[in-house]
């Protein structure tokens, strides 16, 4: 079994490992540290030990997949309403760059029923190959037949990297496929690179805190990752190049799930559509106080978005949440009001053209991404701004 090892010759019981551990995975017992079941083998304590007394011992070498057989990048197309969803162009753009860095091919997998046009559309974004799997069993998304279909294709093509969308469909399908293929899957990557050995460096926020982690799947293939919509820039649309290649898929005789009906969700505007976003954070003390931000947003022709705690408090609908588990926005103007700038929030708005942040705390991390950092109190500044706008007649009548 893999585990942390302590060299008791070197250890002087200083306890720095205990302080460094974020998980209470190591405790001092008498003079010496002991690892508990809470240890996540994250290795942070190894770096913290001044005497080099700690090490991570890995068990017998795990036989790696035959890595060289896997080549190229495959993108699983996301469709909506039978057509190509915009996130697919973003995945293709990212896939293209990775494939070029690897010096290998980029392919796109399109699955569904009556989706040939969507496959043709995908080929306009520049993949080397497009695979088309059409079957009535794939008419509506169901995890099991989609997993079967992709397993077959991945088994034939043996891609080294497999990218999927971090959408409700992708987040339901990808983990099932990863288990089927017994490989690793990294969710919601915000940056992807390849190293000289063909390993995918998958970077995402981690530990639920303000930390980025780079994650590797170095012994298994394909290296699977999901990317949220609007996180990566889309590939440019051009002339269709690759002719869709059809692939057979033999569905199981029965699947244990059935789609009875699909309908559009009663459509609500989302924060992702707005050109100007005034974002409310926990600096806003009461739901009523959102009104002042609404007036500012109205004057600027924008909407009020928010950080997650405000959605959790029920002050605004989840369609207005900005961030990794909300929407990614790329407005021309983003005014963060009383938002601390947690990494999950920033991941959803750092692409805005112009970012203004108002925060009382001059060390708030939001200022690290802001172009204009206003150190001050929103309860003092915003009313003044509204007064000035009113004088100019801008906020009049609101």
């Amino acid at each position: 079994m893999s585990g942390m090892r302590i060299d008791f010759e070197l250890c002087d019981g200083c306890g720095l490992c205990v302080d460094a551990c974020p998980f209470e995975g190591v405790v001092l017992e008498g003079e010496y540290p002991r690892f508990t079941a809470a240890c996540r083998l994250c290795s942070i304590c190894i770096d913290a030990c001044p005497r080099g007394a700690l090490s991570l011992e890995t068990a017998e070498e795990i036989p790696a997949d035959d890595l060289d057989r896997y080549r190229g990048v495959m993108v699983v197309a996301e469709l909506s309403g039978g057509g190509m969803d915009p996130v697919t162009a973003e995945l293709i753009g990212e896939g293209r760059r990775l494939a070029d860095d690897l010096g290998e091919d980029l392919s796109v997998a399109v699955m569904g029923w009556g989706v040939e046009d969507a496959a043709l559309e995908c080929s306009r974004y520049g993949p080397d190959r497009v695979f088309l799997i059409e079957d009535p069993a794939l008419e509506f998304f169901r995890p099991e037949p989609y997993t079967d279909a992709l397993e077959g294709l991945a088994g034939e093509i043996l891609p080294s990297v497999l990218l999927m969308a971090g959408t409700p469909v992708g987040r339901s399908l990808a983990p099932r496929l990863a288990v089927r293929l017994r490989t690793g899957l990294t969710a919601d990557c915000t940056s992807l690179e390849v190293d000289g050995d063909g390993n995918l460096l998958q970077t995402r926020p981690a530990f639920g805190g303000d930390i980025m982690a780079t994650i590797l799947t170095s012994r298994h293939r394909p290296q699977m990752a999901t990317v949220r919509p609007r996180v990566m820039p889309p590939a440019p649309r051009g002339e269709a190049q690759a002719e869709p290649e059809r692939r057979e898929f033999r569905p199981a005789s029965t699947y244990r799930s059935r789609v009875l009906e699909v309908r559009a969700t009663p459509s609500a505007a989302t924060v992702a559509d707005a050109d100007v976003v005034v974002a409310a954070g926990r600096g806003v003390r009461r739901a009523e106080d959102l009104e002042m931000l609404r007036r500012l947003a109205n004057a600027l022709g924008g909407v009020v978005g928010c950080s997650r705690p405000l959605v959790e408090a029920g002050w605004l609908p989840s369609t207005m949440q900005v961030g990794l588990s909300g929407r990614t926005v790329r407005p021309r103007l983003y005014i963060a009001c009383g938002v601390s700038g947690a990494i999950q929030h920033v991941a959803g708005m750092r692409g805005a053209d112009r970012i203004i942040a108002i925060n009382r705390d001059e060390n708030a991390p939001i200022f690290d991404v802001a172009h204009y950092a206003l150190v001050g109190d929103i309860y003092e500044i915003i009313p003044e701004v509204l007064d000035l706008l009113e004088e100019r007649g801008e906020a009049g009548g609101i």
Partner: protein
Amino acid sequence: MIAIEITVLIKQVPLTGEVEVDPETGNLVREGVASQTNPYDLHALEAALQIRERLGGTVTALSMGPPQAEATLREAYSMGADRGILLSDRAFAGADTLATAYTLSRALERIPFDLVLAGMQTTDGDTAQVGPGVAEFFGMPHASYVAEILDVAPGGVRVLVDAGDREAEMLLSTPALLTLTRRANGPRLPSFKLRLATADREVQTWTLADLEGDAGGDIAGQRYFGLDGSPTWVDRIFPPPANPERETWRGDAGELARRLVEALEGWRYL
């Protein structure tokens, strides 16, 4: 009544915003490790309790984690769960979502159930991968992002799936796994009375030995639990990069407001 056996997957997570990286050293800084039950999982537990109240049956709460995760199962007791099982062993440490799903699915083989309910995602991992992974290891159908359980009957369950801009009504035959969104219900608060009443009730701890049994696993020569069973590993952690081109404005509120309005005007928003 037709009894429906339900197992709920619940996880203890750190309270968010407690972990930071020291920008100088790159090390994690911790300020206490207060923890809570993953809020999404409370919706799964609530759904299970509501089904039991209507149809009868038992609700088992299953968690993998360190010994202190027992607190989460105690919380489940004080909301009304009948049975709590904690999978805890140093061999489970360092598990990524694949190894976690594997471990949970091995435990499920020892717990009779019609339905498994999970949260839509955790607030620490935030991957939404463990539920579907468990379903695949176990070999049962699943639906993620269930916003409403419309109907439960022996042999099948009908649900409303929230897929963002679309919603779908689906029928799954049981055993099946569902992951629930926060739209599904409003979790009840733990009850003091139940807490007292269940104070003596045991939370079973299952270790590697309890799960290995007939194991050997399905890929020869490979261990599936914990770090050894995890294809992904963290190569490095670092604080997010800062933006060097920034103007900082200080001053009294009136002055800041005036500069802001002037700037907005200059950029032609007004």
